[in-house]
Symmetry: C2
């Protein structure tokens, strides 16, 4: 016997059968509606990109260990995109002079990383990317992106308290390093990386790492005060820091509070973001469920990425939100509704050749009226056809026998109530309109 | 100076900027609505598949020369899917006992082939796949798939005469080879391949190839009669052929004619289809535009593919339709409407801090009512903001100055008529509802 091929999808990726696809479709449509309500327009790009566009700014871990790269048959070094921001930056740069500004774009690409699959982590995932380029006022652009990031979870009916938005500013951290800790500039990246890890490691480990990075006990003490007291620490040390960044942060929080987001927005000095390209405001949205406390998604300002592709520069702010973590958030907080298949009408048929043809004719008429209609392919007993409609949760079954046809009658069954009626053929559209509207 | 990265997409693939994305979105939504009106449910699968699933049935040319294959970091031989049917068959096989039948599925995957890019041929394209598995009556399933394939172009408002459906049956061809030509079975595939190429090569070349394949002049003469006279040839030679296949074909044409597709359906003996997996009815939809006569898409019955994955068997019929050729058809026949951006309202703002905030508040209120609203990010003069709305074709601009706010008034401008009004703040929703409904 010939051996059969395995039927599971490639490791760390998913098949979407109709029930999963309906949930994904629902999730994506809430995302699309929300970003479109802010005037963002959809874009897309090829799933294969030259690897060069990731070498500049994407984290080394991704490029050297997680990227799906290969040589094409023409010897080009290409990869399957691990993130969307370099692609979006490439596209903006290609038409930087002709695109009307500000540029508000979103996309919903699938991305690939060679990871060990686990909870919330797969090799293929989809990601909402929303980006705002070339704003005349960067502060207002930051406000809009933060508002949009929160409005998405609110659109999914997430209550206050289920999530928080943790805010930070890259230059503020650098300022603390420089003005308060007096750490030499070359040590900033490694110190930042340790802070970024703080939530994931033990206190001992964390302090040991700071120590190994060359920080004195006094410096570690100040850093800890900063991390623990956040906003208050900044206010107390305001005079020693650049007012530009502290004022920016205070104003951002106050503006968002005035717009009604006070319940969600928190300053959090340990929000760093792994990527090397952020240049200003950074944020992360945190799930506050006691069993699921973790970062859901985030983003920030990345004004320098365009310059990898273009001599011109353009300010940029945006975020990316993965479908796997979003799904887990919605599922943990019980925010996923049951989504039924769309098909509305099942047209059954008796076994006679003439009836089967008539079922196709009736179905075609109903489709012309805009109904979603499954037609029986005949050859099975009527009971089995009704059962088929029932299994597929189709609410209405219609059937017309040869005798009925002669008398211009038709049988309609409401599958929920079980009620079955023989009505005049010309009444059928009224019946359906009443039922579905 | 650091060299800038190139901004064009990977060879043979496309970036979709908002205007192209709007057209694609429109095209896909017509496709989805049409297949869903027949009760087909959407599925999706990973873009990476193990290469094994293509080795069995996909044409050798694709696997050896066109597939994007590579080894992953774990040494697995994988590829980017070049077609969707093996994936769909894999998914059906994985749940073959639990899926309610008949299974009506569709998908809209992107597919990759390493081809020399040209007219209608790119390395990445999207493809509508519609498949019907496990029908109780295969004839009715064939009818439905053919009807659906034609209804798609009809949904795009293609007139009769702009396209034809060319029909054939695999066994009929084999029957002609066996009963009329008496060609040994091992020569059938090569003879079929030559017939498949007939439309693309010269008559001399074609006859030379048949000759080289070992066909005598008499055999070539009969084949030519068959190709030239199609249905009449079959009727004349009916007694010498298996009635099973001729009857099936005659009945199929008559059934489709009764359903109103007589203007489109033609028997065409040279429709063979390149793939090795078709087992019964095959078809191709042809563009009949004098400057663009060629196959747009096609499909057929492929009952054996499931058996590569499962001990159970399941009948199957379906087709695939690429977005590039579809777009060219629609464009040649002038069937693509202008599709405007979706954003409905532009909320402008004066330069005062308080006004900018108010613009955000007004925008949030309008979004709650379901409107798609772009908010000015301020910092530019009013004239420039109106210009921004105009460039983006946003039909309504709203603005509220500080004086107006005190008096509960607001300014609304209809960008098409140029009419500008100051109205009561509480009238704004009425105004918008009247405008947009």
């Amino acid at each position: 016997m010939v051996e059969k091929l395995p039927t599971q999808p490639y490791k760390g990726s998913r098949d979407f059968y109709p029930p999963e696809m309906r949930e994904r479709g629902w999730m994506f449509s809430v995302l699309e509606k929300t970003v479109e309500s802010f005037g963002y327009e959809k874009i897309d790009a090829p799933v294969i990109e030259p690897i060069d566009i990731y070498l500049a700014k994407t984290s080394e871990e991704i490029v050297s260990r997680q990227i799906y790269s290969f040589e094409d048959r023409g010897g080009r070094k290409v990869c399957i995109r691990p993130e969307m921001t370099p692609t979006v930056s490439r596209m903006v740069s290609a038409k930087i002079r002709e695109l009307p500004r500000p540029i508000r774009w979103y996309s919903l690409p699938n991305l690939w990383r060679y990871e060990k699959p686990g909870k919330g982590r797969l090799r293929e995932h989809w990601q909402l990317n929303a980006d705002l380029f070339g704003a005349s006022d960067e502060f207002m652009a930051d406000v809009e992106i933060l508002q949009l990031a929160m409005d998405i979870l609110i659109a999914f009916k997430a209550d206050p308290g289920t999530f928080n938005l943790f805010l930070n500013h890259r230059n503020l951290l650098n300022d603390v390093f420089e003005k308060l800790l007096k750490i030499p500039r070359e040590k900033w990246p490694s110190a930042a990386r340790i802070l970024d890890k703080k939530e994931k490691i033990s206190k001992d480990e964390y302090e040991k790492m700071l120590n190994e990075a060359g920080l004195t006990n006094d410096q570690t003490k100040i850093i800890n005060e900063y991390i623990d007291n956040g906003l208050n620490f900044l206010k107390e040390n305001k005079s020693k820091l650049s007012s530009e960044y502290t004022e920016y942060l205070f104003k951002l929080i106050s503006f968002l509070t005035d717009l009604g987001y006070g319940d969600y927005v928190r300053y959090n000095p340990s929000v760093i973001r792994g990527f090397d390209y952020y240049t200003g405001m950074v944020f992360e949205i945190f799930d506050e469920h006691p069993e699921n406390r973790r970062s859901l998604y985030g983003g920030g300002r990345y004004d320098n990425l365009i310059s990898a592709f273009s001599k011109e520069s353009l300010n940029a702010v945006g975020f990316g939100m993965g479908d796997v973590t979003l799904y887990e958030f919605l599922s943990t907080h019980k925010l996923i509704p049951g989504i039924l298949p769309k098909t509305q009408i099942y047209v059954a048929s008796f076994l006679e050749e003439e009836c089967k043809k008539e079922a196709f004719v009736i179905s075609a008429k109903l489709r012309k009226e805009g109904y979603l209609v499954e037609t029986s392919l005949g050859q099975t007993k009527l009971g089995k056809q009704f059962q088929e409609a029932d299994t597929k949760k189709i609410p209405i079954v219609i059937i017309q026998g040869l005798e009925e046809k002669k008398e211009n009658k038709i049988t309609v069954k409401d599958m929920k109530s079980g009620e079955q009626n023989i009505i005049d053929e010309k009444e059928i559209l009224n019946y359906l309109e009443k039922y579905f509207n």
